[in-house]
Amino acid sequence: MLLNANLEKKKTMSTIIEQEKNTNGWEPRIVAFFCNWCTYTAADLAGVSRLRHAPNARIIRVMCSGRVDPQFILDAFSKGADGVLIGGCHPGDCHYMEGNYKALRRMQLLKRMLKDMGIEEKRFRLEWISASEGERVKTVINEMTEQVRVLGPLGLPKKFKDWDKELESLEQAVHGEEEAVHV
């Protein structure tokens, strides 16, 4: 029997089990970077206006969407975020003149790269939400939560662990095989 195939089977089995474990009771975890002047203010407005929405987003306040370093997004994913949302001022309205354009340029390229890295597009979103658009904060967070829910967990930390299991699991397999041979 081919060892590879055998291992493949093992792996797939285990991943299936994992997924079941993950998905029951699992809630999407979204990290949101909101700019101080527009989107964070809009989130406050949503609060003041009691616009109830999904509790799945965790907001990190930055002064400008231009401060959002692509590293933050990758780091968030690698630490277990299922989705990342960035909120900035509308084009032309940036408190810092052009920070949001810089964000736009970076995120366009990052989006492409994430796609190549097998991370579904809907897990990453850039939104212009002005200080007056509390309603929009609600809609966007609800939408994104549902879209991510459909995609299921990304669960990179978990995956990293699984990948490293490869080392031991393959080792055992080898030694198993070798013993078998030596008998």
């Binding site: 081919l2 060892l3 590879n4 291992l7 493949e8 792996k11 370093d69 692509p70 590293q71 997004i73 990758l74 780091d75 994913f77 690698s78 084009p91 354009y101 810089k102 736009l104 340029r105 970076r106 366009q108 390229l109 990052l110 492409r112 790269m113 190549d116 890295m117 097998g118 991370i119 990304l154 990179l156 995956k159 990293f160 990948w163 490293d164 490869e166 080392l167 393959l170 080792e171 397999a173 080898v174 095989e177 070798e178 041979v181 030596h182």
Partner: protein, 321 residues
């Protein structure tokens, strides 16, 4: 046997250039040989695994292991060298960050095997035969190492003391490293034995970079008539210099080729690719989404360009399936 400190080189998933780079020391290799006993050096000397196994644990002063970890054999050898050595240095980009072999992390193991043994244009294999992991020859059984699904940097498999970056590391850095190690004045554990400042600092074309650079398109070196006296970024060519640790003294740049990032990021940066992406995209001229994407589309392969040497040690490590 002499009591000269023992030094070993080993070669995992890599092109071999790293091992050969030791020879680049030219005549000063003689000083090295005079100062140390080389107990393992696959490319140049005939030592076997068993010779190393025979040594006492920690009896080797330093092992310079190059190459990424891609198979169980490499894993096994890396662990062996670790066991036998006081210090392990990840030697060269592949050991340091996964290197070129690490680009395989964009594919599933099965995809790769399938391509190599069945689909690649140069393959003739009607029966679609795959190598057996184990087979018997006149009573003895031979096993093949296992081909992992994930390519790893050395420190993702064993504990690493120092890193010597580069594809390959330059003789100068190697020499410095050996001198430091022999001097006994050991740097802080985990140190990368190269300057902690980006390449531009020592770039020969440094002064020709304008302070108001904006990109309308990115050019590819082989499609461009490169002006040897001007900053490559200023000519619209993607150069990783600003996001790459210096120390190579701009060898590629002097050869009129852009930096592709083999020295990896500075200590302040978690993800080299993300950083250069951020820096370049920030300087795109266009403002509306369509125009921006037109400019960015001139970078055909972001991963291959920004993570050429560092995919396994990047934040995402590999393509997610």
């Amino acid at each position: 046997m002499s009591d000269k400190p023992k030094v070993a080189f080993y070669w995992c998933a890599s092109c071999g250039g790293c091992e050969e780079s030791v020879v680049d020391l030219a005549e000063s290799i003689l000083d090295v040989v005079a100062a140390v006993d080389i107990v393992m050096w696959p490319v140049a000397m005939d030592f076997k695994k068993k010779d190393v196994e025979a040594m006492a644990d920690g009896s080797i002063l330093v092992s310079m292991v190059n190459g990424a970890i891609r198979t169980s054999e490499q894993e096994e050898m890396a662990k062996l060298m670790r066991k036998k050595s006081k210090l392990v240095i990840a030697y060269g980009s592949c050991a340091h960050m996964g290197g070129i072999p690490g680009l395989a992390n964009q594919f599933q193991r099965e995809e790769i095997l399938q391509y190599v043994y069945e689909e690649s244009p140069s393959t003739v294999n009607k029966e679609k035969t795959r190598p057996k992991m184990k087979f018997g020859i006149n009573g003895n059984s031979v096993t093949l190492p296992i081909f992992f699904n994930v390519v790893r940097a050395l420190d993702q498999v064993i504990d690493v003391d120092y890193y010597l970056p580069g594809c390959p590391p330059t003789p100068k850095l190697l020499k410095q490293a050996i001198e430091v190690l022999l001097s006994g004045k050991l740097p802080e554990k985990g140190a990368i034995l190269a300057p902690d400042i980006a390449l531009c600092d020592e770039c020969p074309k440094k002064d020709t970079k304008p302070s108001d650079l904006k990109f309308t398109e990115f050019k590819r070196p082989h499609w461009t008539k490169i002006d040897p006296n001007t900053c490559l970024l200023a000519q619209g060519i993607v150069c990783m210099g600003p996001a790459t640790r210096g120390g190579c003294e701009g060898v590629c740049i002097s050869g009129n080729m852009p930096c592709t990032g083999c020295f990896g990021p500075t200590s302040r940066v978690k993800d080299q690719g993300a950083k250069i992406l951020s820096a370049l995209a920030s300087q795109v001229e266009a403002k509306d989404e369509k125009a921006i994407n037109e400019t960015l589309a001139t970078i055909p392969d972001p991963i291959g360009t920004f993570y050429r040497y560092g995919l396994p040690s990047s934040l995402l490590r590999r393509k997610n399936f």
